[in-house]
Amino acid sequence: MNALLTLPEIAVVALGLGLLLLDLWTPPDQKRQLGYIAVAGLGLILAATFTLHGSNPQYAFGQIYVMDGLALFFKRFFLLGALFVLVMSTDFADRFPAGIGEYYALILFALAGMMWAASANDYSLLFVAIELITISFYVLNSFRRNQADSLEAGAKYLILGALASAFLVYGIAFVYGGSGTLSFHPTGPNSTDLSLSPIFQLGLAMVLVGLGFKIAAFPFQIWAPDVYQGSPTPTTAFLAIGSKAAGFVLLLRVLFSAAPDVATHWRPWWMAVCAITILYGNLGAVPQRNVKRLLGYSSIAHAGYMLLGVAAMSAAGAAAILYYLGGYLFTLAAAFTVICLAFRKSDTGDLAGLAGLHHRSPFLAATLTLAMVSLAGIPPLAGFFGKFLLLKAVVQRGITNPAYYWLVAVALFGIVVSLYFYLNVVRAIYWSKTRTETAPIEIPRLTRFSLYGCIAGMLYLGLLPNTFLNWAQEAVKALHLN
């Protein structure tokens, strides 16, 4: 039993505990520094993960924990995402009534949950990891408890999240009932013909309800706009980046590793869910006047795009999802960091608050514009290449199954519509006249670096996709798709 495989998670949890302890002795005006410690610590852990290898899957705790390419890819992804979110939170520190130290720690614990989720090879670990994430988010969402919106977001996430969890548990129960084990890879007499067992199918479908909630796919997308809007901005960012990616890694594992036959069996429904998710997200974003809410809808749309990769059911599709997530990470981190800084005073997230941003800080305005352009999928930014790869994977399938062409058409339609509302944001920055705030924005140095990182990431993934895409392709080998 090589329990040391889970060292990255242990390190993250230890970092969180350390922060909590340090928090006790830190004077209130110095608490911001804790964030820098957390960032430094996470940076170290991220760097350390590059000593790990995922080419051969290694197992720990029986078969519960797996360390393979996919897990490693996502662990790095989550670490990087949390890094950006922590930097964001340091700018947000003065807006919390409760302690910022706890906020950092909760982010770290949620991060540990995500990393465990990436390695889950068993429904028990899947469940506890998801719950660790979800419960952390209950708190993170409502962390500004003096704000009605934050609490409302927390309550909505709480009820719907718990509802999804209940379905997840019930699903796990039936999967267990059908296969006789909690492992993703059942062995023994029951394991054959699982795709025919109605109990197993029922369980799997209910597990998918839980995961669908996490990634905000139709028909479980309903919470996303409200929660994105009301939550503190760093939480929203973490929800959009980390929580969604955790949902996707589990979805990939459950569908393609644990139940490939059933997944294929359900192919038409993936396509339908994918198409409706894309349409709902994009069309719903059209009338939005609040930038965080708009990004909430857009996150639904992006979940839909990534489901294209699931619907394609090929290695190329899965790799495209990973690639897309990479671009999405940098883009959203940039967007939310700018939103954090731009709405320092008013903090409504209303588009009008962006007016005159290019006078207050041309750099932030340009960064947000770049992020919107990337989200809209314009080359040469990351968003374009991700969409290109996803569509490519789907068209490839279309040669044998023409129904996929409809999916392509829907996705292209969504991409066109999306430009409309992303440009609304750009327009609000540069062309609005009414300015609510005029003071120039000061950008702390660390934040500036993180923004540079985001821009570099967006450009790098858009211009030189080679290296990253190779990683993604290596990673999805763990799923044994063809």
Binding site: A98, L106, E131, L132, Y138, V139, F174, S197, P198
Partner: protein, 188 residues
């Protein structure tokens, strides 16, 4: 079930039959009570007071613990009563008292919403039973054998499932921090 295993010579067959009947009776007793109390939680007769719901929930959980015993999950039955019916429900009660919620529904319930809710819940149950019906036809389920005592369960928990167990500990830590953060008195 357990009694089916080679009955000892001094134990007549009638006794095992009695045991089985007893079990059957107990199952129906607990099952029906569980469902009735469950229904009362949802549709509490005293609408104004959520404390009534808590009361029925406790009863539901206790009846469930009875079912657990029938399934030989003794440890879980104990946990169910101690943790759930004990601690969690006290928490609920405490909060209800603390908030002293008196209000409730000045607005009338809308019929459509009610009908929709019933419809959806019914549909879910129907779908579940559909799958169950299909499953019961197949003889995939062998005779029961497992005993859920503290010993065996503890062994599995601390060997095979030690990682999720430890993750749970982090989760509880998160819960503690969360409660403190959300519940602390307002800072100036």
């Amino acid at each position: 079930m357990a009694a089916r295993r080679a009955p000892p010579a001094n134990c007549p067959a009638a006794q095992s039959l009695n045991l089985e009947l007893m079990q059957e009776f107990l199952f129906y007793f607990f099952a029906i009570l569980t469902l009735v109390f469950g229904l009362l939680v949802v549709a509490s007769p005293s609408r104004r007071n959520p404390a009534a719901s808590v009361f029925f929930l406790v009863l539901t959980l206790v009846c469930l613990a009875g079912l657990f015993v029938l399934l030989h999950a003794f440890f879980l039955a104990a946990v169910q009563i101690i943790v759930y019916a004990g601690a969690v429900m006290v928490l609920f009660l405490f909060v209800i008292m603390f908030l002293n919620v008196q209000q409730e529904s000045h607005r009338p319930r809308t019929g459509t919403r009610m009908a929709l809710s019933v419809l959806i819940a019914g549909a879910i149950v129907a779908l579940l039973s559909r799958a169950l019906g299909a499953a019961s036809a197949s003889p995939a389920f062998p005779q029961p054998a497992v005993e859920g005592g503290t010993g065996p369960l503890g062994t599995v928990l601390f060997t095979e499932y030690v990682l999720p167990f430890e993750v749970i500990s982090v989760l509880i830590l998160v819960a503690i921090i969360g409660v403190v953060c959300l519940g602390k008195k307002e800072l100036k």
